[in-house]
């Protein structure tokens, strides 16, 4: 009942924001951009943090989701309007239907890409896997540069559907799924194979299928973020999905603490808000990121939060402990 209550609270809050806040206001734009970063960092954390595989091509999955979602809504909207009778719906409902269809298509396409990239991860380790995933990310970008139907290097313009409600809902949903996964049979199997593949397989864990599962799930989440992002401005460019973007996502995950969803969320928000608000920061972004990484490696190699997670329960019990100490 309590859990249902929380879900209703989130829905209510998002609806309220949707109805009262201008999504194109500067502050809401920065926060919505943070949502995309959160979805990306939290999803990459499943591969790099939970499963301990080093993937650095996450922008590639993001791009697959974005271009697939954008194509569906650009080329398929007319068909959807005609065959589903969307035209007779109120605009917000028709928009939501198109956006959801785009999200589903983007997630599925990215999941397929995740499956294809996940396969080599069975054979490759560490640096080699990193290079393979990097290659994948670049390959995807080059492919989109060369498809004229989606604008090539000039970029791809579609009708924007900027929805605080849906972006917020999917962000919360992805964080929730990812947190749940951590404390589940499957999430424990991922962490086990991260720590010791041999010991994990001796306990009956099929290393192969779990690694692929991590890639598929993570890619699907990035694809979902991509499809939403495509409709945010209604404009996509292959270069927004370049290597630098992948590196930014990794930095969020590493700084937040590999394996900690809470850490990934915090780092994603901070590292998105800072460059958007401080011009100087934006100019020297990559320099500052590198410096942050080096400092983090020296001072706190486990990242901001290590592998720990925020939870209301632990906050409450901590409060009790201090309370007991005082009494």
């Amino acid at each position: 009942m309590l859990r249902g209550g929380k879900a209703l609270l989130v829905l209510g809050l998002l609806l309220l924001l949707q109805l009262t806040v201008d999504p194109n206001h500067y502050v809401s734009r920065v926060l919505l951009l943070s949502c995309f970063s959160v979805m990306l960092a939290v999803s990459l954390n499943i591969i790099n943090g939970y499963a301990g595989q080093f993937s650095i091509g996450h922008a590639g999955f993001y791009a697959v989701g974005a271009y697939t979602g954008a194509s569906l809504s650009h080329f398929g909207r007319e068909w959807m309007e005609a065959s589903l009778g969307l035209a007779s719906f109120p605009a917000w409902l028709a928009d939501s239907a198109v956006l959801l269809a785009a999200v589903v298509a983007g997630s599925v396409a990215a999941a397929v890409a995740g499956f294809i990239v996940g396969l080599p991860s069975l054979r490759l380790r560490g640096d080699y896997l990193a290079i393979a995933t990097l290659g994948f990310g670049e390959l995807i970008r080059v492919i989109f540069i060369n498809i004229d139907r989606v604008g090539g290097a000039r970029g791809f313009s579609i009708a924007p559907i900027n929805s605080i409600f849906w972006i917020g809902l999917f962000t919360v949903g992805i964080v929730w799924l990812s947190r749940n996964l951590l404390n589940s049979r499957q999430g424990r199997a991922l962490q086990a194979l991260r720590d010791d593949e041999t010991a994990a397989s001796v306990l009956g864990i099929n290393i192969t299928s779990y690694k692929v599962m991590a890639f598929v799930l993570s890619a699907a989440m990035a694809g979902c973020a991509g499809a939403l992002y495509a409709h945010f401005d209604g404009y996509l460019q292959p270069d927004s999905f370049n290597f630098i973007r992948s590196i930014e996502i990794i930095i969020m995950v590493v700084l937040g603490g590999l394996g900690s969803t809470t850490g990934a969320v915090i780092a994603a928000v901070v590292l998105t808000v800072l460059p958007e608000t401080l011009r100087e920061f934006a100019d020297y972004r990559m320099v500052i990121y590198s410096a942050l990484l080096v400092i983090c490696m020296l001072v706190r190699p486990q990242g901001l939060l290590g592998t720990s997670e925020f939870s209301w329960a632990s906050l409450r019990s901590r409060g009790k402990e201090t309370g007991g100490g005082l009494a």
């Binding site: 589940s184 049979r185 962490q191 086990a192 991260r194 009956g204 099929n206 290393i207």
Partner: protein, 255 residues
């Protein structure tokens, strides 16, 4: 009675080095069997072959009637095999109880959707897993450390945790690679009584050690390996008085 585990003419070579050489070896159901031999005899290698971690060069391994040749490493667990390692291999970034919870993997069934979406089946199974894990921690005396990081445990307790993790999978056979090494006298005595209890519950135990003394008073049958070959097999008494065994252990004379 048919053997639960059977190695048929098993050979494993590492380059030119033949670590296990045409070995026939079997473990019967319900037995406490010991595999001993001096360091480098090939005991750990044979254990790796039996659990499918290392593929055989030739020969066959048959577990409960089915061959594991060419099967992936996780397959042996589905046939009811569990093991510990000579150099303890815990999941070091997980807590003590989480390590044991991973051990429940082989008999649990909930899929990714169930866990990620918190379906009712997830909660039901999770409760069973937690109960079982506490039970296993209790029997190895680690109940108090359930929430600690696995890596923070002292060595002796890490060994016990590894056993608890293996038992959490409800195995038919438990294989232990030098479980007493690095343990204090008191810990070794506790281990012996734990192993006796496990056998009395119907679990078959295969005990690997280079130290004869520990295995002699608890095992039913002993196989001695030297330089990759079986040199003796029999009851502890028979093996202890075997000339070839005494020669292999020259300097560490059994008494």
């Amino acid at each position: 009675m048919a053997a639960l585990i059977q190695a048929v003419q098993v050979t494993r070579a590492f380059g030119g080095l033949v670590a296990v050489n045409s070995v026939d070896f079997s473990v019967r159901r319900g037995q406490m069997k010991a595999l001993i031999g001096p360091n480098g005899a090939g005991k750990s290698t044979l254990l790796n072959l039996l659990t499918g971690i290392t593929p055989v060069t030739s020969g066959d391994i048959i577990i409960d009637g089915s061959s594991i040749r060419g099967r992936p490493a996780f397959h042996a667990a589905t046939l009811g095999l569990a093991r510990t390692f000579q150099n303890v291999r815990l999941f070091e970034n997980m807590t003590v109880i989480e390590n044991v919870m991973v051990g429940c993997h082989s008999w649990t069934r909930q899929g990714i959707a169930s866990g990620a979406l918190r379906w009712i089946g997830h909660w039901r199974e999770e409760r069973l897993i937690i109960e079982e894990s506490h039970r296993q921690l209790g029997r190895v005396g680690l109940e108090a450390e359930a929430g600690a990081d696995a890596a923070s445990l002292p060595f002796g307790k890490q060994r016990m945790l590894e056993i608890a993790r293996a038992l959490a999978g409800h195995p038919q056979v438990l294989m232990l690679d030098e479980p007493a090494s690095g343990l204090s006298t008191r810990e070794t005595a506790e281990l012996s009584s734990l192993l006796r209890q496990i056998v009395s519950e119907g679990v078959t135990v295969l005990l690997v050690d280079h130290d004869m003394q520990f295995v002699m008073d608890i095992s039913d049958e002993v196989t001695v390996l030297d330089q990759g070959r079986t040199i003796a097999e029999g009851t502890p008494e028979q093996v202890q008085s075997d000339a070839a065994v005494i020669a292999a252990y020259l300097g560490t004379e059994p008494n």
